[in-house]
Symmetry: D2
């Protein structure tokens, strides 16, 4: 389980959200309060949008709390749309390629949760990828693979549907693998224009998800766990929700996965 | 504050102490129970004695729990005398040069605790070093500097006295700096023959220190915190103690610092 | 293209081969003389056999010339059978999982060369792996994949044949991919008992391979490039050769790849 | 010896200078043509000025050619004033704290060259620092120490004089140490407004220094070695020169070190 925070609004220094608040993402890397594990020390990452359509990406394997580069970058870089993540591995090795966010063209993606039984269906899911998506795979995590499946499911045309259909691929593969699906997913992603988030579980409790207006910059945050307790008015997003944040406001819709568009190639 | 473990006895695989026990040092890097901070993720290190008089040294800045090299080295290397450490920084940056153990010739040293007000007396203490010891300084920690002071205080001839006199140098510098000494020290060190440990504080509570016979290998461990709860018979070392473990047994003596042999050059 | 050295004989300190000679592997990481690229700074690795049937493994992404851990480990560890490698990437990212040697059970493997057109046949080759071998894949290199194919081709029973059949799988996949095979392979591997090496190319010039008796320890080295110019009597291994070094001597046999035992699953 | 490049002008993407040109700084990290050592693989760093008075700082110990973060940062970040450096160590360990640029408040500094006999005068020079400057020392290089001396020599009021007086301190310390000064210095530094460079040696050949107008952005580069051969009109700066580049043009003045303002405390 991991912790993450995302922002869309007027350009602000990344540090306003990532490092400065009392219970900032960096603080959460050391002692998260609503996560299964308090320590999120298995690497970190930033994706931010600036003057180019595709995002910048900075990821490293140190704990976020001890990386002076991260601190300086967050202090210097201003962005109106960014994703930040601190990782607690649920299996994969600690390597840069396994750190979130993942990017593909204009898209960025980060995740808290896991695909239960991933080791049993990893190969089937990788084989379900097109050659183009397969060639983009750099690491070994369930999260990156889930994102690559999303990119194949009309992500640009129907972001909510893409998540839904990627989930269906996981559910199908789990059942074919002979076990009940056990997917936990609290994810955020963006194309550089809008910020999307989803809270879903196929069983039991979905990882937490919150949103709040951000005082400076008139923007909005969506986070796995609030980064301050005062001054903000955090709204808990209910399970099975899909959040769309644009320049003109936020919508929260019910989220129920559909059937997979592509059959699994087995 | 940090966690550490040391062993002297028949050669055993390092993993028997460092990675295998249920509450091993690696487990303590993630969730120590008797430390001020449960997370000791700011690097780690090993010093072990083998076929040469001087020890081997392996240190890195990843959290110990996520380093596959550490796991493999501990699984392969057998040694009859070694020191292992996981770090929680009290100030210095996360760099290899700031990771314990530190070595000098045949000697190795590691530490849990801190020199209170170090930033105010660091320069005076560094200036008190001989040119030879100054040239060995690689990092910026209080621990390394304390060890270098020990090497100048007849460490080979009188190990207990060397610790005592290094403490006196810290106490003197603190008083000259205009503040009450605040030194916490639970340290282990070795010359490749014997294993020494000390538990001391100039004020309040000294960090914990334990020892136990080790079932495999007929040796003895000294640790900042027990690495298992069953099967071993851990003995808490009282504050103000100096422990000497040799091939022929262990002695625990009272430890009270003496006056500094060298005046501080100010 | 990379540089590597392997040894079998009486136990010697790794440094006798890896760091001490005038043109040691470490020196070659900075300025190799017979390699396509003089700099081999994209990580390094060691696999050595000691008291366990499976080898120890130490790999990191720094240039070999600047890693103090490597220097200390080579100075301390004695082994009668080890493989050491410095990497110059031909494509894959600089990550620990992409550094040689690779290990699987008792086996270790390292490689200089490349599978030409790998990006076009990577997926077909990965799909040809059994689930068991697929699950062992950690990185993204052609070399690791080649080794995993070897482990499926009766490596224990017929080491030379295993290389031969893995090559055939590459050749078949290349032809099905619509291009002429372009495989360059100078590799060493071991099961902890014998040391094997192969020099082969499907076209043009095979990377160099040398062997020599090693004065200390009465053993034998096999290397991509001699590590000293005086005192040793280096023998160039001809292209299309398979070398077997055991406790009782060395054999050099002609090496010609056979047809693949398993058809590629496409 | 190292390679570096600096720019002042309209804001451009860092990649326009650091990674994109045919003989870019990244290319020079692998095969510099005018340096003593062709490989500059002992870490790298960037300092750039943006929306704050103090610069951002990104340094890491990988070779510049293999760091995907560096590539992404250079592709995203635009700046009208920045310094970039690839390191070939002349002694100090490969650590982030030993990588250039160094920063202090609004100032940034990077260096190609070395203080000959540094190990013999390091302590005297460190002792010559004020407590405030001493506390800013993080690493162990001669370059960082030289920069800290500059900050004490009225750097803000008289940049050229500050370099001159820092050189005098080195020269004095060398003579007191009983050897002829052997200082080589091609350095660039900035306060966020102007860009300064100096080319000087106390003996023999000064490392190279070039400048050129930069086609995009209407700015100007100063470099240790040209990053392209066509399209730019590189001007070699003569030895014993001090270069000042401002928003309104460039001046090149003779540079001869003066007597030290502060006597060395010995």
């Amino acid at each position: 389980m991991c912790r993450w925070a995302a922002y869309l609004g007027e350009a602000v220094f990344l540090e306003d959200i990532v490092t400065a608040p009392c219970h900032s993402l960096i603080a959460q890397s050391h002692c998260a309060q609503e996560a299964k594990s308090p320590t999120n020390g298995d690497g970190f990452g930033l994706a931010w949008y600036g003057d180019r359509p595709e995002p910048g990406l900075y990821r490293d394997i140190l704990p976020a709390w001890s990386d002076p580069n991260l601190k300086s970058l967050c202090r210097q870089i201003k962005s109106g749309l960014f994703l930040a993540h601190v990782r607690a591995s649920t299996g994969g090795a600690t390597s840069r390629m396994n750190c979130h966010p993942f990017i593909s063209g204009r898209w960025s993606f980060m995740h808290n949760g896991q695909i239960g039984g991933f080791e049993k269906i990893r190969r089937a899911l990788e084989n379900s990828l097109s050659d183009a998506a397969f060639d983009q795979r750099e690491g070994a995590t369930d999260s990156e693979l889930f994102f690559l499946m999303m990119t194949e499911e009309d992500l640009a045309g129907d972001p909510q549907g893409a998540v839904s259909r990627a989930i269906s691929r996981v559910i199908d593969a789990s059942r074919r693998g002979g076990f009940e699906p056990a997917l936990k997913l609290t994810a955020a992603f963006s194309d550089g224009q809008s910020l999307y988030a989803v809270r879903y579980t196929s069983d039991g409790h979905a990882p937490t998800l919150y949103t709040s207006a951000f005082p400076n910059g008139g923007g909005r945050c969506v986070v796995s766990e609030p980064f301050d307790r005062d001054g903000s008015d955090w709204q808990a997003i209910p399970p099975s929700s899909f959040v769309t944040i644009g320049r003109d406001g936020m919508s929260i819709r019910p989220f129920v996965p559909a059937a997979a568009k592509l059959a699994l190639a087995v």
